[in-house]
């Protein structure tokens, strides 16, 4: 990423302006042609710096009010396989392996699911458990949302790595 890439990302990471020609407006602010801004965004997407470009949906507002984190206890030698299986399910938005704390927390694979009812959550979780053959899991239904912000951002300082 060069300085212009960074300027573009910093300008649009909180949202493009909802005007007739959003990319032309941003290009004018940065001082480059509109075609260049679009070409650079496309390139950053191909390089994987931008995972996707589009609307961030407010899931709760759009009816996905039953959200849950499921923590699975997966034997070490099956983590790669099970992680891949969970990741392949369209109902799963996040899937990670996390460190365990022996004796205190031994559920090592985490998935997030977002449904319209707790019933749907339970149904999806059962489906995942059967598919992967992992009977030991905890379903942590989300309650109140205290904070939610964009976690991956470019800031003005130099803490991020060059790509």
């Amino acid at each position: 990423m060069d300085a212009i890439d960074r300027a573009i990302v910093m300008r649009v990471q909180d949202g493009i302006p909802l005007v007739d020609h959003p990319f032309a407006d941003v290009a004018r602010e940065i001082g480059i042609p509109e075609q260049e801004i679009l070409a650079r965004i496309e390139r950053l997407r191909n390089e994987g710096v931008i995972r996707r470009f589009g609307a961030r949906i407010n899931n709760r507002r759009c009816g996905f009010t039953a959200n849950a984190m499921i923590a699975w206890k997966v034997p070490e030698e099956r983590v790669e396989e099970v992680g891949g299986l969970f990741a392949g399910n369209p109902g799963v938005t996040h899937c990670y392996e996390r460190k365990i704390i022996p004796g205190r927390w031994e559920h090592n694979v985490f998935t997030m699911v977002h449904c319209q009812s707790e019933n749907d959550v339970n149904h999806l979780v059962e489906q995942l458990a059967n598919m992967a053959g992992v009977p030991d899991y905890l379903v942590l239904i989300s309650g109140e949302e205290f904070k939610r912000t964009v976690s991956v951002r470019i800031t003005g300082d130099t803490e991020k790595a060059e790509v």
């Binding site: 990423m1 990302v9 990471q13 949202g15 493009i16 909802l18 020609h21 990319f23 679009l38 965004i41 496309e42 950053l44 710096v49 931008i50 995972r51 996707r52 470009f53 589009g54 609307a55 961030r56 949906i57 407010n58 507002r61 759009c62 009816g63 984190m69 983590v79 992680g83 891949g84 969970f86 799963v92 938005t93 996040h94 899937c95 990670y96 392996e97 996390r98 460190k99 704390i101 927390w105 090592n108 985490f110 905890l138 942590l140 239904i141 989300s142 309650g143 109140e144 949302e145 205290f146 904070k147 939610r148 912000t149 964009v150 976690s151 991956v152 951002r153 470019i154 991020k160 790595a161």
Partner: protein, 169 residues
């Protein structure tokens, strides 16, 4: 809070389209409108209304953390004593490195994600939180990522049930 806004079928189709396939073109709203059989002006006005009413947070790039930042991050679960949840959550949310902070229905009833320039800074913030909340380290779980399998936050809209209790024709 955002008030009651009723969405019609076209609104739900727009939500799905601008989430899944936002066109990176000079004439974005023409492209969106053409796909849905409405005018560019109507497409823009609807997207604006959907954002103002809180259905869309923003239209923006989703960045790959490993490629744009070298920060360390972790997930923390806390066992908060009954009756102190909001107070403790407020102390934690005040840290700029906390991006998500949720109540979850479990013995560990508060879960947040924390990032900092490196792991030493993460540990320092965690210690400070334990001190400020007067909750002991044994009530905290620090669970950093070992492997990422998936991050793809997209939803399949369901006009029949989502959003509001009325107005979905």
């Amino acid at each position: 809070m955002t008030g009651q806004v009723s969405l019609d079928r076209m609104d739900w189709r727009i939500l799905q389209l601008v989430q899944d396939e936002f066109p990176l073109l000079p004439l974005v709203w023409d492209a969106v409108g053409t796909r849905l059989g409405i005018s560019a002006q109507d497409a823009l006005l609807r997207v604006r209304r959907l954002q103002e009413a809180g259905f869309i947070r923003s239209i923006a790039p989703v960045l790959e953390s490993a490629l744009v930042t070298s920060r360390s991050s972790t997930l923390i679960g806390v066992r908060v004593p009954a009756g102190r949840l909001r107070e403790v959550a407020a102390i934690i949310s005040a840290y700029p490195g906390v991006s998500h902070n949720y109540e979850r229905h479990h013995e560990f009833n508060l879960w947040f994600t924390l990032s900092a320039p490196d792991t030493e800074a993460l540990d320092a913030i965690l210690l400070e939180i334990q001190k400020k909340t007067r909750i002991g380290a044994d009530a905290f779980l620090d669970l950093p990522i070992r492997r990422k399998f998936k991050i793809d936050v997209r939803y399949t809209m369901d006009p029949g049930r989502g959003g509001t209790h009325h107005g979905c024709d």
